[in-house]
């Protein structure tokens, strides 16, 4: 087979325009498939990043919007394997005007002294961390938020509360870096508590639990939920990754959406490449006759045509994978990136999926024309004028 390789290359290059057009159209479709596969992989298959694997989110079983008692904190803390439990609530509120999407960065109220313990992957200068812990009206913002709004340490941010009514003024005491998108702001729960009536102070939206080993996460999650079973407020505990994916499902049926688009893309490539191969084989019938006269066996001819199709579509698949890497880098940087589990840009399984799918589609699409070409009688092939 290897000795036919030069001939296969020559054949690929005989109609350069067509080859280039085919490669580009496969590459463009494949890059979409690459993005879909990468997203699917990140949501449903990938192992969480080491820091994420150590965090569980505890919330009310009824829904995210029902608060749970803070008194649960002590009892969760006592479960073996739990290292830290942090009170963690969605603060919401309005910054300037909600109609502008860039003003809608996430805002959480937390326990400042625990924040950088539970979120070990966040980096912040030591003095800024201290200032955040000491100042009740302090806040810290992610690098992305700081860049979008040109915030500096010492600036003040005014928010109008909704879940927590009132006008709040915060001083930025620190800007932290995160390995992921960081369009987020953390504030001190004490400051929020002061504005609340007595009966709401003892509640929290969620608990963020730091555990000792990733393999304990299922056991601890069950232990937490069992502790509060049959109480007026039952809990639902899940890994941070599962929590994020569940949150995303609010956008609609993501899994189905990814599958449907991937399916349409693959079918389109199949059509494109089948069409091209059929055209190029039809043009060459007479040539096949000459090859046969020279003594090439039908199997060799079949192999050459299949090889050509495979080569062209694999090239398209590879180019598509490269483009999809660029696109994913763009997606990870977008505000949407904050919802995503960690994305590794170079994901071997995505590359393999792209190239192998493309190559398989190439072989499948050229099978019919290749078979008919290899089976055609010499005389008929030589007589063909098309």
């Amino acid at each position: 087979m290897a000795r036919y390789l030069p001939l296969i290359f020559k054949n690929c290059w005989r109609n350069r325009r067509r080859t280039v057009l085919t490669i580009v159209s496969i590459a463009v479709s494949m890059c979409l498939l690459g993005v879909m596969v990468a997203l699917y992989h990140a949501f449903y298959l990938s192992d969480p990043a080491p820091d994420q694997a150590l965090r569980l989110v505890v919330r009310s079983r009824v829904s995210l919007t029902v608060a749970i008692p803070r008194s649960y904190q002590q009892r969760i803390q006592q479960i073996p394997g739990v290292r830290e439990v942090m009170i963690y609530s969605w603060f919401g509120g309005t910054y300037k005007d909600n109609r502008d999407a860039k003003n809608q960065f996430a805002r959480f109220s937390v326990e400042p002294e625990k924040l950088f313990v539970v979120y070990g992957e966040l980096t912040i200068p030591e003095d800024q961390k201290k200032a955040f812990i000491q100042d009740r009206t302090a806040c810290v913002v992610g690098r992305d938020t700081a860049n979008t709004h040109n915030f500096h340490v010492g600036d003040r941010i005014n928010l109008t509360g909704d879940i927590y009514p009132g006008n709040f003024e915060f001083t930025i005491r620190g800007i932290f870096d995160s390995p992921r998108a960081s369009d987020v702001m953390f504030i001190n729960k004490e400051y929020v508590d002061q504005t609340l009536p007595e009966r709401r102070r003892g509640l929290t939206g969620m608990f963020d639990v730091l555990i000792d080993k990733p393999e304990n996460s299922t056991r601890i999650a069950e232990a937490v939920d069992n502790t509060f079973r049959n109480s007026p407020t039952e809990t639902k505990t899940e890994s941070e990754q599962a929590f994020t994916v569940g949150f995303l499902s609010l956008l609609g049926n993501v899994k189905m959406f990814l599958m449907a688009i991937s399916g349409a893309v693959m079918f389109t490539i199949l059509l494109v490449s089948a069409n091209t191969m059929a055209m190029s084989v039809r043009e060459r019938v007479r040539e096949v006759g000459v090859l046969k006269t020279l003594g090439f066996a039908p199997g060799a001819i079949l192999g050459m045509i299949l090889g050509e199709a495979c080569l062209i579509s694999a090239a398209g698949g590879f180019a598509g994978y490269l483009i999809s890497m660029l696109l994913m880098a763009f997606v990870a940087k977008s505000p949407f990136g904050g919802f995503l589990p960690t994305l590794r840009l170079v994901e071997p399984s995505v590359a393999a999926t792209c190239i192998l799918t493309a190559a398989t589609i190439g072989v499948m699409s050229s099978l019919v024309p290749a078979l008919s070409a290899s089976r055609i009688p010499i005389v008929q092939a030589l007589r063909s004028t098309d």
């Binding site: 919007t65 009514p165 007026p232 688009i261």
Partner: protein, 387 residues
């Protein structure tokens, strides 16, 4: 003189496999675009039929969804007797104190459950929602732990059927009826007595929002101003229509993603169309030469091949419309501003189909212009000699 259209049509028929494959490629691209547009259109239709211009929704200042709004009962008493509020059958003002919360229900697609809106409301609240009527069963009795579920909720969740019980808050609730909001957002809600629901959530003094009905549109606008300017109340009022219109902005990311995907696929399929047309040009070199000898100008050859490409893609566009047709009327759901799901139907309008065919024709134009130019530039003698 122009080359007759029949020439192009026959050429497409002769090469039927290639024609069909290229057209199918375009059809799929168009189908993806149309599916997304139909989805967004369905969502917009649902949201725009949900709001009544006479209704005024009152939330706490700073809240932009009912779920995060908090409302004291005392405020409601002050507000009830504002001028311009309609009068109900019982002689009371048409104002309803409402409480919104969400509960988690599971179904086949989502075994972990999705959020569904529960709305507690007063009898006036039912009376003023003219678009909502009972599909089966009966309304809940005030003072009892009874629920009426929306049509979409009943359709999508096996647990939400008349005669069954739902467990949330402090205990079980009986489902006694199904409401039909004529595809409005209320079809995705579960309704019950507001006093029962606030009691279960230990929020006796507070609810989420107030819905009032004005006597006419002018009064409604005046009422909105009046409420917004009343510093004593500290509330934000807007017409219900405006509230739902604001929610349509969540369709923007879906629309954006869909158009982006369709555009990328369009590059792929317009290149495929280009490939097909180049092949057609090179296979018909001798024909082109003959046409030139017969006296057809370069320009008419250019036009002819261009038209053929457009015909091919228009066929693809039509096929694409046929492919998405079964989607029309299919129900799906999306998260709404209350963190709960909002069910709606795909809605394929004639305008959307026209947009799809126009999109296909653009693909054909892009894919056809270079091959057509190539064909028109052939020299007569070399063209005749080509094999």
């Amino acid at each position: 003189m122009a080359i007759p259209l029949a020439y192009n049509l026959r050429n497409l028929v002769v090469r039927k496999t290639t024609t069909l494959m290229t057209a199918l490629g375009i059809a799929l691209t168009v189908a993806v675009l149309l599916a997304i547009l139909a989805l967004v259109n369905g969502l917009r239709t649902t949201l725009s039929t949900s709001g009544d211009p006479l209704h005024v929704l009152v939330l706490r200042k700073g809240s932009d969804s009912e779920l995060v709004s908090l409302f004291a009962r005392a405020q409601f008493q002050d507000m009830k007797f504002k001028p311009g509020i309609g009068t109900g059958r019982d002689g009371q003002p048409l104002a309803s104190l409402e409480m919104i919360t969400v509960i988690n229900l599971g179904n086949v697609d989502n075994p972990n459950g999705v959020n569904v809106t529960v709305r507690g409301l007063m009898p006036a609240g039912i009376e003023m929602r003219h678009g909502v009527h009972l599909a089966s069963g009966r309304w809940f009795d005030p003072g009892r732990r009874e629920l009426v579920v929306g049509r979409s909720v009943a359709k999508r969740f096996p647990d939400a059927q008349v005669g069954k019980k739902l467990h949330f808050g402090r205990g079980d609730w009986d489902i006694v009826g199904v409401l039909d909001a004529n595809r409005g957002a209320q079809d995705s809600e579960i309704w019950g007595d507001v006093n029962q629901i606030v009691a279960d959530y230990q929020r006796v003094d507070t609810a989420s929002s107030v819905m009032i009905e004005a006597t006419d549109p002018v009064t409604a606008a005046a009422l909105v101003n009046d409420l917004n300017n009343d510093r004593r109340l500290g509330v934000a009022a807007m017409s219900e229509k405006e509230y739902y219109d604001l929610q349509t902005r969540q369709a923007v990311p879906i629309e954006f993603t869909g158009i982006f995907v369709a555009l990328i696929m369009a590059i792929g399929s317009s290149f495929a169309a280009m490939n097909t047309m180049y092949a057609a040009v090179s296979r018909r070199a001798r024909e082109i030469g003959t046409l030139r000898v017969l006296g057809f100008s370069r320009f008419s050859i250019l036009v002819s091949f261009f038209v053929e490409s457009v015909l091919l893609s228009a066929l693809g566009g039509l096929l694409g419309c046929l492919l998405v047709l079964p989607l029309n009327g299919l129900t799906t759901a999306i998260g709404n501003s209350n963190f709960a799901e909002l069910a709606f139907d795909f809605h394929l309008s004639p305008q959307i189909m026209a947009a799809g065919i126009a999109f296909a024709i653009v693909l054909g134009v892009l894919g056809g212009v270079f091959p057509a130019r190539n064909a028109s530039r052939k020299e007569i003698l070399t063209a005749l000699r080509e094999v």
